[in-house]
Amino acid sequence: MTTTPAPVRTRAGDRAAPAAPPLRPRRRPNDTSQWIAWAFVTPLMIYLVLFYAFPLYRNIELSLHDYTPRAFVRGNAEFVGFQNYADIFGSSSFAKAATNTALFTIGSIAFQYAAGLALAVFFRANFKLSAVLRGLFLIPWLLPMIVSASAWAWMFNSDNGIINAALRVVGLDPVNWLTSPDVALTSVIIANIWLGIPFNLVILYSGLQNIPADYYEAASLDGANAWQQFWRLTFPLLKPVSAITLLLGLIYTLKVVDLIWIMTAGGPGDTSTTFATWSYREAFGAGNPDFSPAAAVGNLLIVVALAFGLIYLQMQRKLEKQ
């Protein structure tokens, strides 16, 4: 409100004194706008430094020292260089955690994406109750993680779970979903797929809304059937949206701790341990907090996520060139 009359008066002033050297009054607003720009940026910078740069620095610092509980409190941890990283790579848990992380991430996002895309295409055809049904599919997203993870853990319970009860009714042998070393990882992947479908559905559905209906009209005039329309039109036009969905899904999935921790705590043994739960277990899951290896595993995850982020940027640049 107070700023609106200001430019009018400046212009009036300029008109009143046309002989004045034009440089001074012009430079001043430039100067101040520079200042204002900085003033507006400063809070953001402070926020970024406090909540992003500093924690990241601290995490790196933790991983390069040997922080025992004693050293943590006294602040005199010994600098060990990359020893923690060497320990992590040499650990007997490393291969298992790496495979599990890959299986968990790829398995989760592949099925989430496929199911999300199928549902998005399904809901594109507006039919009665489609909005209500679409809303129902969002439920996994709205539930607190502790609720959905506990519910899955109960359903998967070997003796009293509803899934084994159903198997028994059909006459099949019950499966030790969470307590068998061969099945535990699959069980947490199934639960995670269920959790991730709404996210994929929402983003892909909004992506579909941006494809003009004329294209489909033209395609059907040319005699393309539904299958051809999907593979020749929908899928290629959805590529940019798919890429960002997959990237975000990947980052979300890499860092999943709560779901796995609530359902199996990474067990039995370390058969459902991923990098994220391994890091959590080292730091907070056992009686002896090992912050340094935990930070090293955490940094490893950040590097992996960053690598995929860079691949995404590269892909985007290529798409823009096309």
Partner: protein, 420 residues
Amino acid sequence: MPRNTTRHTLAAVSVISLALLATGCSGGAPGTGTESSAAAKAFTVWDPYPQHTEGSDWAKRISACGDKAGVKIERTAYDTQALTNQALLAAQEGTAADVILLDNPAVSTLADTGALIDMESVGLDTSAIEPNLLAPGVLDGKTYGIPLGANTLALYYNADVLAKAGVDPASITDWASFQTALTKVKDAGSKAITFSAIGTEEGSFQFLPFFWGSGADLKDLDSPAAVEALELWTNWVKTGIAPNSVISNSQNTTWEEFLTGDFGFAVNGTWQVNAAAKAPFKSGYIPIPAKSGGVAPAPTGGEFLLMPVQKDESRYDTSKKIIECMSTNEGQVETANTFAYYIPATSDGQGLLLKQHPELKVWVDAVNKAKGRTSDNLGTNYPIISEQLWTAVQNSLSGAASPADALKAAQKAASEKTSK
């Protein structure tokens, strides 16, 4: 005018960013320490009993101890594992509470950081406390805490199920007679036993009576005695004497399974005495038998009262009064009655409790035969060994490894980590 507006905006923005900076900074280093010393009279107590909300008997008891010492107490409850982490963080920041109630196996780790005051130096007398119950608070000859009381594990049984199977609980005196009883219950069509073999400290806690009862030692995880104990559990799961879900059961879930009335036995703790009395079936408890007869040493459970180091040393006197109020014989009996978690840690206190509740004799005996998890000079190594132990139990019970291989791997990992 325009210049003035810009100046105002500038000033406003810089004030806001300064304010942000200021709050940001104090956010980075929690100001609880300065706050509590500024409020001088408010004393802080942290405990791991979030189930006892404000207005509960326990909360009232703490504030009564504050009233006695002439101060107001601000109590904060945390989850057990969260409290250990919180205590470490607070020790680093110098913002710990005046009194912390901490799970006993974590005491030596915290004491080792130098964050705790030893009881002798503030003149708190610990001589009346049973040595086996005080042991988890002792590190390098100094005592860093006082048990609020102690609890341990025993075998609960469902008398109806046992009667149906023709099993007399008194006949269970060693592993062989126990196995016979379990098989009878199973053959009578009931589920025989449930326990918690979850991949957390609770899993080790429940396995220890069998591990120690077999004669094994935590310093030697792959000894033949240790393998025998793990074989016992593994065979129970394999032969269906115990359900497969024990691998992911917490002690609470185990108890819920027992309360269904389908199970003959359940391994559980002192804290379920009241719940067992309210169960819809007749129940009882017996000590866990050792392999070749007698009572197996069960691990002591329960919290210690600790005094973290404070910048303002004048606070110690009041903290000491609060601790005394909660740990006298009468205080311990009152705690035992407030929530049936605890058996007093002094023999006088135990005598007082037994006068009021003679039926708790099994528990008093069990607590007196119990063993601290950090005992045998394990101290700060216990949490490391325990993590390997529960991992071995998980691997063996789930079939990922044989009992001997699982324990061999555990011993290897434990000795690598503890030698560092």
